[in-house]
């Protein structure tokens, strides 16, 4: 055990850090773009506060197309763009580019769904009080759906964590890369199992954190 740790400890620690780094950065940016996109998907729907069925159809279609491209193909497909943005196409930082591109449409749908859950009556009440569209978005939709958004955040972050394992297979570092190198290329099962356990721990941690935050944020549930 100590021998194993001495030999692979630093490697596993670095892998965990790389995975966390990719997950956090990609989640952050995919929310930065995905929240406005999700809001746009929701409010432009028929009966929404800024309804525009044509925009909604086109935008919704684009989101669906982006979501239907398998990640591994998208990753290869955007390599020129990744080079342009990150200066290179290998390593954890470069991996963030395809991760964000793949996760943003996913996040948009997750956000859209949370926003749909806001009671229409409350939106109408705000309208009656003279709220602008922008005020309805920032003060009603995003605030009233905050617990749902936080729960959705864990789904997105865990999905992105899964994607980082795939980027690992093409040399982006992280736990996925370790599992691939040692488990698949060198048949060192102990390293591979350890990475799997570390991934499970990370997933549980994300889930637990977001459940806790959502429960704390939700005033709709009597505590």
């Amino acid at each position: 055990m100590t021998e194993f740790l001495a030999k692979y400890g630093p490697l596993l620690a670095q892998g965990t850090l790389d995975t966390l780094y990719m997950t956090v950065v990609s989640t952050f940016f995919s929310y930065l773009f995905g929240v406005p996109a999700g809001v746009a998907l929701s409010v432009t729907k028929k009966g929404g506060i800024a309804q525009s069925p044509r925009f909604n159809a086109v935008f919704g279609w684009a989101v669906n197309v982006a979501r239907s491209i398998p990640f591994i193909i998208l990753m290869i497909f955007v390599i020129p763009f990744t080079r342009l943005i990150a200066g290179t196409s290998i390593g954890a930082t470069a991996a963030n580019v395809p991760l964000i591109i793949a996760a943003t449409p996913f996040v948009a749908r997750v956000v859209e769904q949370s926003i749909e859950e806001v009671d229409r009556g409350v939106i109408e009440a705000a309208r009656c009080m003279g709220a602008t569209d922008f005020q309805i978005i920032t003060k009603v939709l995003l605030v009233e759906s905050a617990p749902g958004l936080l729960r959705g955040l864990s789904i997105s972050a865990i999905t992105i964590l899964g994607y980082t394992a795939i980027t690992g297979a093409v040399g982006a570092g992280g736990l996925g890369n370790l599992a691939f190198r040692f488990g698949y290329q060198r048949y060192q099962d102990d390293v591979m199992y350890t990475t799997v356990i570390l991934l499970i721990v990370l997933v549980c941690l994300i889930q637990w954190l977001s459940n806790w935050a959502a429960a704390k944020a939700d005033k709709k549930i009597i505590k």
Partner: protein, 248 residues
């Protein structure tokens, strides 16, 4: 100050058109409490949704202090909306805000200075007698308490009129009495004009000075509540009165 002229609204659906409003006319003076009563599907909610501009009528005019609010847009429209407080059957409170924050909400939308908001919250919560629940969330309040918060919120921007769609339909009879008493008090002390939509004749009987009976999107009878109760002219009115007497 509120005049509604020949308001019409047709909903077209898959199974044909529904004429929800068939030419509604009425006029209210400042300080009136106007009850609109009718059976389910008569067009009550549609009428109120048109007056609050949640629904666009096909034709007609809604004049508030002489201005046709249907012609307003943008900031002028939002300003006009602040002249009307709306109380809903389902309360429609913001679930992630406390009672006090709910009352503050319309003031925040109107960009009222923070100090003034604090002051207004205290006044309003005192007015609806719920100061002790200021920091409670709606999920921690009873139906009657929620409706009090909703009334305080509707009054926050000092509107000239309060429009209520079935404000007591989700409440028990004692709570209904208290909420109606509160509305009457507000009408007396603030001179707020009140429009109440209801299907319960008891609500009209207890606080309204004017009333209208709606059926098939038309007022089949309107005038002073006292006179209509004394001498109901239409079949529907007699039916509504009869139902209430049979139930009592």
């Amino acid at each position: 100050m509120i005049t509604v002229e020949n308001l019409k609204k047709v909903f077209s659906g898959k199974d044909g058109d529904v004429a929800a409003l068939n030419g509604i006319d009425f006029s209210l003076d400042n300080g009136d409490i106007f009850g609109i009563i009718g059976m389910s599907g008569a067009g009550k909610s549609t009428l109120l949704r048109c007056i609050t501009m949640l629904e666009k009528p096909d034709s007609g005019r809604i004049l508030i202090d002489g201005t046709d609010i249907l012609s307003l847009k943008g900031e002028a429209l939002r300003k006009a909306r602040r002249q009307m407080g709306v109380v809903f059957q389902g309360y429609n409170l913001l679930m992630q805000r406390t009672a006090a924050q709910n009352v503050a909400f319309p003031l925040e939308l109107a960009k009222t200075p923070k100090k003034e908001i604090e002051k207004r919250i205290k006044e309003l919560l005192a007015l609806v007698k719920i100061e002790d629940k200021a920091d409670f969330y709606p999920s921690q309040l009873s139906g009657g308490q929620k409706q009090r918060v909703a009334i305080a919120r509707a009054l926050a921007t000092s509107p000239e009129a309060l429009l209520c769609d079935e404000p007591t339909s989700a409440l028990d009879s004692l709570t209904t009495k208290q909420v109606l008493g509160l509305l009457e008090e507000i009408n007396k002390s603030l001179k707020t004009t009140i429009i109440i939509i209801t299907h319960e004749i008891g609500v009209v009987r207890s606080i309204c000075n004017k009333m209208a009976v709606i059926d098939g999107g038309r007022f089949v009878e309107q005038g002073s509540a006292e006179e209509i109760f004394a001498d109901p002219k239409s079949e529907i009115t007699r039916l509504l009165l009869g139902i209430s007497e049979a139930a009592e």
